[in-house]
């Protein structure tokens, strides 16, 4: 991976056999047999086989696969709600499968919060008492845990609901409680098991955006399970694609879309609306020519002619974007004897960041015909996107 951040969880050679003779099943696996054959021969189900991946500090890693791919098993192996049959899961130097009872409890309390598909809220506890649960179990003092619970409820937008019971809330709000329970705990890793799958599509989209915002603010290491590729592509920094208990591909959403590892992934991504996932960067072209803010209109006209451009971007001495001038206003300014291009420039163009979704660019072209400038955080010009390039990129992605 291009990512060189610290590794938070390292998973190596992780396998899980459901049944009483895991050894036998794993031996057959090592001889090259697949899941159905192993089931026939031994009656054991190979849930996960030789899973390798890293979770980086602060990233949102999505584990994605269809039902039966082993994703729920995988996330439960991380905190040992399910006992792995073999392999390593190392978090901060501790190998989780080796932990004894007490150390395991301690590890769960310190490292893992979990959000569940069907919320798994305690119906006999109020919203606040639910949010407090993790801290209560750890033996945190009532005042302190109440404060932490209220704070996290506020973070998910549930202030004012502290004393309600879960059955008084809508599904979306219940899952916010689930999220607040996880955040209040302040564990180092957030595990989300199909956390949004039970919500209706609109609420789901909202929750995804909120999770992204939270993630942006808190930089919490998150492992998110989903069966929905759109969701994976929307929220994932990286995606681990599972099929039949094995990893098919690991990569960023763009890598998965543009370089699918095999036919399975290719078939999988066929249905995706690519303009939502591809970013301005993928359609960006190098800037052929620019002018300085100290240049005159004549220089601008000359450069435009040389590179056959209709308009040209104006930069200051630090290459920051200050404006744009088109051929017509440049020649008018020249006739009027103006000395600087800045006197005739326009601000009426659009600039975006590299990671702007491609589909947002369509609308911009609709009401503005200038190329779209791609800038970095310091307003330095990185490249431009012209209308044709967006369509090209989409067409190519469609063929891939």
């Amino acid at each position: 991976m291009s990512d060189n951040r610290n590794v938070k969880i390292r998973v190596r050679n992780l396998s899980k056999v459901f049944g009483s003779q895991p050894k036998k099943a794993l031996e057959l696996r090592d001889q090259g047999l697949k899941r159905p054959e192993i089931l026939d021969k031994t009656g054991q189900t190979l849930g996960l086989s030789n899973i390798d991946f890293d979770v980086h500090e602060g990233e949102l890693l999505v584990i994605m696969g269809l039902s039966g791919s082993g994703k729920s098993t995988l996330i439960r192996c991380l905190n040992r709600l399910i006992e792995p049959s073999e392999g390593e899961i190392v978090i901060d130097g501790e190998n989780i499968p080796d932990l004894k009872d007490k150390a395991l409890l301690e590890c769960r309390r310190r490292h893992f919060s979990m959000v569940f598909q069907n919320f798994a809220l305690f119906p006999n506890r109020t919203v606040r008492q639910n949010a407090e649960f993790g801290l209560e179990v750890r033996g945190v003092a009532p005042d302190e845990r109440r404060e932490a619970a209220d704070k996290s409820l506020k973070q998910v937008g549930l202030d004012g609901w502290e004393d309600a019971y879960p059955n008084q809330l809508s599904g979306g709000m219940q899952q916010r409680v689930g999220l607040a329970r996880a955040l209040a705990n302040d564990a180092t890793v957030l595990l989300m098991d199909e956390a949004f799958s039970a919500l209706d599509p609109l609420i789901r989209g909202d929750m995804q955006q909120e999770l992204l915002a939270l993630q942006h603010r808190m930089q919490k290491t998150t492992v998110f399970i989903t069966h929905d590729l759109d969701e994976a592509l929307t929220i994932g920094d990286r995606i681990v694609l599972l099929k039949d208990g094995e990893v098919v591909q690991i990569g960023t959403p763009e890598e998965i879309l543009t370089q699918p590892a095999d036919d399975y992934v290719r078939r999988f991504i066929e249905g995706v609306d690519k303009s939502r996932i591809l970013t301005a960067e993928s359609a960006m072209r190098r800037v052929r020519s620019t002018v300085r803010d100290s240049d005159g209109p004549r220089t601008a006209l000359k450069k435009m002619r040389e590179h056959s451009l209709d308009s040209i971007y104006i930069l200051d001495r630090e290459r920051r974007l200050v404006g744009l001038i088109d051929a017509e206003s440049a020649s008018q300014a020249h006739e009027k004897g103006k000395e600087r291009v800045t006197e005739a420039m326009t601000q009426d163009f659009r600039s975006v960041k590299r990671d702007e979704p491609l589909h947002n660019l369509f609308a911009m072209f609709h009401d503005n015909h200038f190329p779209i400038a791609v800038v970095d955080d310091r307003q330095q010009l990185q490249g431009v996107v012209v209308k044709g390039a967006v369509l090209d990129e989409l067409a190519q992605a469609g063929e891939a």
Partner: protein
């Protein structure tokens, strides 16, 4: 020619082991007997000490508080009828036996039920024993009770506890097993110990079911306490028993109706306790 298979002396074996138990553990049985008898006497004296009208008011108020006006009126009318028929004292005796037997049964049943819910092996051991306890004709328990505790109320309690305990155990086990897997998983995921899981999640969630079991236990205890008149237990049962011996159906029905009234009050009160818990 008939093949002569010797009869298996099952009854002899049971009798021998019961005799052995009685002689070996007489200290224990005598101790249990004394404690139980004291409990019965104290509760009985306390309820008898209250004038009937005040107890009637207390029970009606309790019914009103737990279940509303209708039950309160019904309970007051029913108890007034019992008082009027001159069955007040036997009714109190029966109530005492039911309360004590239920208490003992529940005190034993809760931990056993919890343990059976948490251990698959214990579950498989206990369920057939419960089947045995429940299907064995109730009268049979009366017989060994006598050598253990002698004729009288303590024997009645012993037989009643055995007969009425199974539903409390079963429902406790069921209630805990019915707690959704996800909730148990959530407790585990946040690092709850077994005890925390039990106290914070499994027990509160299973409470309505446990209460249903206790309701069943009370009903069974009431029916057994009446039957236990055959081994000298006091109360409404002995009124019925006397009516049978003297062939006086009128007296028998009067006592029987008193039992029905008591049963209805106990049932409705415990059921409303359960519903209150639920909401």
């Amino acid at each position: 020619m008939a093949i002569d298979i010797p009869r298996i002396p099952l009854g002899d074996w049971i009798e021998n082991s019961l005799n052995w138990l009685t002689s070996e553990y007489s200290v224990v049985t005598r101790g249990i007997s004394r404690v139980t008898q004291t409990g019965i006497d104290v509760l009985n004296d306390a309820l008898m000490w209250l004038p009937p009208w005040s107890l009637l008011v207390i029970i009606a108020a309790l019914c009103w508080w737990l279940a509303g006006t209708r039950l309160a009126i019904g309970a007051a009318a029913g108890m007034a009828l019992i008082w009027n028929l001159g069955l007040w004292d036997p009714m109190i005796e029966t109530l005492t036996l039911v309360v004590i037997a239920t208490l003992v049964a529940v005190i034993i049943a809760l931990p056993v039920g919890i343990a059976a819910a948490l251990s698959e092996r214990l579950y498989r051991t206990i369920m057939p024993i419960l089947d045995f306890m429940q299907t064995m004709p109730a009268f049979v328990y009366l017989i060994p009770a006598i050598p253990f505790f002698g004729i009288g109320s303590v024997s009645a309690i012993f037989a009643t506890v055995i007969f009425s305990m199974p539903p409390a155990i079963r429902f406790t086990t069921l209630g805990i097993r019915q707690v959704p897997v996800e909730l148990v998983e959530a407790a585990d995921a946040y690092g709850a110990t077994r005890r925390q899981k039990l106290i914070k999640v499994q027990l509160p969630m299973s409470l309505p079911t446990v209460m249903a079991g206790i309701n069943q236990t009370i009903m069974l205890a009431l029916s057994m306490v009446v039957i236990a008149a055959m081994i000298g237990a006091d109360g409404l049962g002995s009124e019925v028993w006397r009516a049978i011996q003297r062939l006086r159906p009128g007296d028998g029905f009067e006592a029987g109706i008193a039992v029905v009234i008591l049963a209805m009050i106990l049932d409705r009160v415990t059921q409303s306790l359960r519903k209150q818990r639920k909401s």
